[in-house]
C-alpha cells in the first residue's frame, strides 16, 4: 500500500473532532447508487477482511460525461478522467492527512471502507472540496434563522454550499454558491471559519469523498435578503433553527450548523434555546436575578440568590452526554469539551470533579461495550467515575491554582501516576460486581500473561487471535519498536508468557475491565495536564491524543505501526505492550499466591 504526501489541517476543528465520523458514508446513499456492501462500525482498511469485502463499482454517468480530459479547453467540464492513470496530478490531498492508495493507484477514503468503489456522483478521485456558507439572522419574532435550500437530488433541506472550482478562493466559492442557489448576494470576506475537514456524506465512496470549508455569517438586523431557488436547489428559505429542524438537515450539516451556533454564542453572549429562541445572555440572566432580589429588599435571602446564580443558564443547542451508541469521535469531543469547561472552575477539586466525571463516563461506556453488556453501563459509570475522581485528587500537588502543571512538581505527578493503580484495584471488585463478572480477580491479575493480554487486545482491534507466540520474537519485536527511555520499557524482558493455559472468557473480560479501570485512573491526571496546555481555548494538537478514548488510542497506535510498514501481528504486539503496562501496574499490588498447584 502506497502513501502519498498529504496536507495537514489548519483549523482545530478537524480530524477526530470532525462532524460525525463515518456513518452516513456506510449506511446511506443516493438513489442512483447500488446497494453498499456491508461495513461494520470501526472497520478500517487494515482490519477489513478483504476476502469477504466485495463492494460494487459505481460511477455516475454525469461524472463520465463531464470528463475534462475529453476537451481540456472546456472549463465547464468538472470531472476527473475515469482512467486514473490519465490524471496529471496524482497528489491526493486531504484535510485528514496522508492519503493511501490501493493497488490500482486509487485514493482510499481516509475514514475507511464505504461499501462502494469508484467515485459515485463525485467528480474527483480522492477529496472533493466544497464550501458551505452558513448565514444567520434573527427574525422579527426573536427566533434565529438560517438560509437553507431544498436539494433537488434528495429533497432534504441543506446548507447552500457547493464545490470549490480549481484555483478559486473559498470566500469566492461561498459567495458564488449562495448566489447561484438562493440568489442572495452577500460578501463572505468577514465570515467566521468554523470547520475544515472530512464530511460524512452519503455520496462518499471508497475512492472519493467530500471535504469542506464551512464559514458562518451573522447578518445585521434589518438586512434585506430575498431568496429565490436556483441551480441545484428546488426551493430556498429562511429556516428557524430549532432542535428538530437542525437535526433533519442533509448529511453532516447539523453538526456544522451547531458548531456555527456555538461559535456565535461564544462571541455574542446570546444563547439559542432548543426552540430557536434567542435569549438574553447568561450574564444578563444573573444580573436580573440580583436586581430582582434587591427590589424585594429584606424579603430576599442572599443564599437563595447565590443558589439561583449557580443553577442559572439557558439550555443551549449543544452536544449531550455520550451514550453507549456514541462513536469514538463523539466520546473524544465530549472529553475535550468537559476538560476545557473544567478549567473555568476555581479550585483543583472542582476541576477534578468534572474531569473525573468525563473520564469515568467515557471509560465505563467503552468497558460496557467491550464486555458485551451495554445494560451495565450506568452502574459501571458510578464505579469508574468514583475511581477517576479519587485518583485525580492525588494529582492536586502537581498543579497550580490555575490548573497548570508545575514543572518542579514532577515528583508529585509521577507519584500520583503510580498510585493510580492502587485506586483502580480498590474499585475493581465493585466494577466486576456490577458487571456481573464473578471471578477471583486477584488470581486473574496474578496469572495474566502477555498471551492473555494479546488475546484481549486482538479481540478489541478486530484482529485474529494470536497463536504460536514466540516470547523471544515478541521481545525482539518490541525492542525494535519501543524507545529505550519509554515508560515501562523494562517490562519487555520480564513479561510472563504461557501459550497453553489461557484465561477463560470470563477471566478475559475481568482483565479487560481491570485494564480499563487502571487506564481511567491515571488518564485523569493526563487530562488535567493536557486541558491546561490548550492554546487559546483550543486543545494543543501535540497533546490531543490524551483525549482519545482508550479504544481509539489503541486503534490509532495499531494503524500507526502498520503505516510504518510493520505487519499486523507486530502492530498487535506493540498495542498489547501498552495494555500490558496497565496490567504490570496492578500485578505487584495483588495478594501473593496461595500454596497450591501451579497454573
Amino acid at each position: 500500500m502506497e502513501i502519498t504526501a498529504g496536507i495537514k489541517p489548519t483549523l482545530e476543528n478537524t480530524g477526530s473532532e470532525s462532524p460525525k465520523g463515518h456513518i452516513k458514508a456506510r449506511t446511506e446513499k443516493p438513489d442512483t447508487y447500488p446497494e453498499r456492501a456491508p461495513v461494520s462500525d470501526g472497520v478500517s482498511w487494515e482490519t477489513i477482511d478483504k476476502s469477504k469485502y466485495h463492494p460494487p463499482y459505481f460511477v455516475d454517468n454525469r461524472v463520465l460525461a463531464n470528463d475534462r480530459t475529453k476537451d481540456p479547453k472546456n472549463k465547464k467540464l468538472w470531472a476527473d478522467p475515469e482512467d486514473i492513470s490519465l490524471l496529471e496530478d496524482k497528489k491526493f490531498l486531504s484535510y485528514e492527512g496522508e492519503v493511501r492508495l490501493d493497488e490500482k493507484g486509487r485514493p482510499l477514503n481516509p475514514r475507511g471502507p464505504t461499501g462502494i468503489e469508484g467515485r459515485g456522483e463525485l467528480g474527483r478521485w480522492g477529496a472533493n472540496k466544497a464550501a458551505d456558507p452558513i448565514v444567520f439572522r434573527t427574525n422579527e419574532d426573536g427566533f434565529m434563522e438560517m438560509i437553507t435550500i431544498k436539494r433537488k437530488d434528495t429533497g432534504e433541506w441543506a446548507i447552500p454550499g457547493g464545490m470549490v472550482d480549481e484555483g478559486e478562493r473559498v470566500t469566492a466559492t461561498l459567495k458564488r454558491e449562495l448566489g447561484e442557489e438562493t440568489s442572495a448576494n452577500l460578501d463572505f470576506e468577514d465570515a467566521q471559519p468554523i470547520y475544515q475537514g472530512y464530511v460524512d456524506d452519503p455520496r462518499n465512496t471508497d475512492n472519493a469523498w467530500m471535504e469542506t470549508d464551512a464559514f458562518y455569517l451573522y447578518l445585521p438586523e434589518g438586512t434585506k435578503t430575498n431568496l429565490q431557488a436556483g441551480d441545484d436547489a428546488s426551493d430556498s428559505k429562511w429556516m428557524v433553527l430549532n432542535e428538530e429542524s437542525v437535526n433533519s438537515l442533509y448529511a453532516s450539516h447539523a453538526d456544522l450548523v451547531q458548531r456555527a451556533i456555538r461559535s456565535w454564542q461564544e462571541k455574542t453572549g446570546f444563547v439559542v434555546d432548543k426552540e430557536g429562541n434567542i435569549k438574553k445572555s447568561a450574564e444578563g440572566e444573573i444580573v436580573s436575578q440580583i436586581t430582582e432580589a434587591r427590589a424585594n429588599g429584606n424579603n430576599s435571602n442572599p443564599d437563595d440568590v447565590l443558589e439561583e446564580i449557580v443553577s442559572s443558564g439557558a439550555e443551549i443547542l449543544s452536544a449531550s452526554e455520550p451514550t453507549i451508541e456514541s462513536s469514538s469521535e463523539q466520546l473524544q469531543s465530549y472529553l475535550v469539551t468537559e476538560a476545557k469547561s473544567a478549567l473555568g472552575q476555581p479550585t483543583f477539586n472542582t476541576r477534578n470533579e468534572l474531569m473525573g466525571k468525563a473520564v469515568g463516563l467515557e471509560s465505563s461506556l467503552l468497558a460496557a461495550k467491550s464486555i458485551g453488556k451495554p445494560e451495565v453501563a450506568d452502574k459501571l459509570r458510578g464505579v469508574f467515575t468514583q475511581a477517576a475522581e479519587e485518583s485525580g485528587k492525588t494529582f492536586a500537588g502537581a498543579f497550580d491554582e490555575t490548573g497548570k502543571k508545575m514543572e518542579d512538581k514532577n515528583g508529585e505527578y509521577d507519584t500520583a501516576m503510580k498510585a493510580a493503580g492502587e485506586v483502580a484495584l480498590q474499585h475493581l471488585p465493585d466494577a466486576l460486581k456490577v458487571a456481573g463478572i464473578n471471578v477471583d480477580i486477584q488470581k486473574v491479575l496474578r496469572d495474566a500473561t502477555f498471551n492473555d493480554v494479546l488475546r484481549v487486545t486482538a479481540k478489541e482491534l478486530g484482529q485474529p487471535e494470536p497463536v504460536g507466540i514466540d516470547p523471544d520474537q515478541v521481545r525482539q519485536t518490541l525492542h525494535s519498536m519501543v524507545p529505550n527511555n519509554e515508560y515501562g520499557v523494562e517490562h519487555i524482558d520480564t513479561m510472563p508468557f504461557d501459550e497453553n493455559t489461557p484465561l477463560s472468557e470470563q477471566e478475559q473480560k475481568a482483565l479487560d475491565v481491570a485494564v480499563r479501570l487502571a487506564n481511567a485512573t491515571w488518564k485523569v491526571g493526563q487530562v488535567h495536564r493536557a486541558a491546561w496546555e490548550g492554546n487559546d481555548g483550543r486543545i494543543n494538537p501535540d497533546v490531543r491524543e490524551v483525549f482519545n478514548p482508550f479504544d481509539l488510542l489503541k486503534k490509532t497506535q495499531f494503524d500507526r505501526v502498520i503505516q510504518e510498514g510493520r505487519q499486523p501481528q507486530e502492530a498487535l504486539t506493540r498495542v498489547g505492550f501498552e495494555i500490558y503496562k496497565d496490567v504490570a501496574q496492578l500485578k505487584p499490588l495483588v495478594a501473593q499466591p496461595q500454596p497450591g498447584p501451579a497454573r
Binding site: 440572566e285 435571602n301 443564599d303
Partner: protein
C-alpha cells in the same frame, strides 16, 4: 453584632460586586457561578463571628475582585482586636501590671490572636 446578619451582609456585598462586574462586562457568567458556588461553600450557616473573620480573608484568594467586600471585614476585625486589646492593656496598666500589658500588646501584633468579645 448578629453573626447571621453579618454573614448575609457580606454575601450581599459580594452580590453587588458580581452585578457591577457583569454589567460592565468585566466578568462572565461562568466566573459569577464559580464565585457563587465558592461563597455558598465557604459561608455556609451557621457561622460565628470568629469563623466569619477567619473565612473572609480567604474569599479573594482566587477571586481578586472580591477584595472590595473582604477588606472591610478584615478592617472591622482589626479594629475589634485593637479595641479589646487596648481596653485590656489599659486595665492592666492601671493595676500596675506593666509587663503583662506589654506582653499582651506584643501578642496582639502577631497573627492568629484570638479575641473574645
Amino acid at each position: 453584632m448578629d453573626p447571621e446578619a453579618y454573614r448575609k451582609k457580606l454575601e450581599l456585598d459580594i452580590l453587588t460586586i458580581i452585578e457591577e462586574k457583569l454589567r460592565n462586562g468585566q466578568m462572565d457568567a461562568e466566573r459569577a457561578k464559580a464565585i457563587a458556588r465558592m461563597v455558598l461553600d465557604k459561608l455556609h450557616p451557621p457561622l460565628t463571628l470568629e469563623q466569619i473573620h477567619q473565612i473572609a480573608p480567604t474569599l479573594d484568594d482566587h477571586f481578586a475582585e472580591l477584595a472590595k467586600a473582604v477588606m472591610p471585614i478584615i478592617h472591622d476585625h482589626e479594629e475589634e482586636v485593637k479595641k479589646v486589646v487596648s481596653e485590656h492593656a489599659s486595665k492592666l496598666i492601671k493595676s500596675g501590671k506593666i509587663d503583662e500589658a506589654l506582653s499582651i500588646l506584643k501578642q496582639a501584633t502577631q497573627k492568629g490572636i484570638e479575641v473574645k468579645t
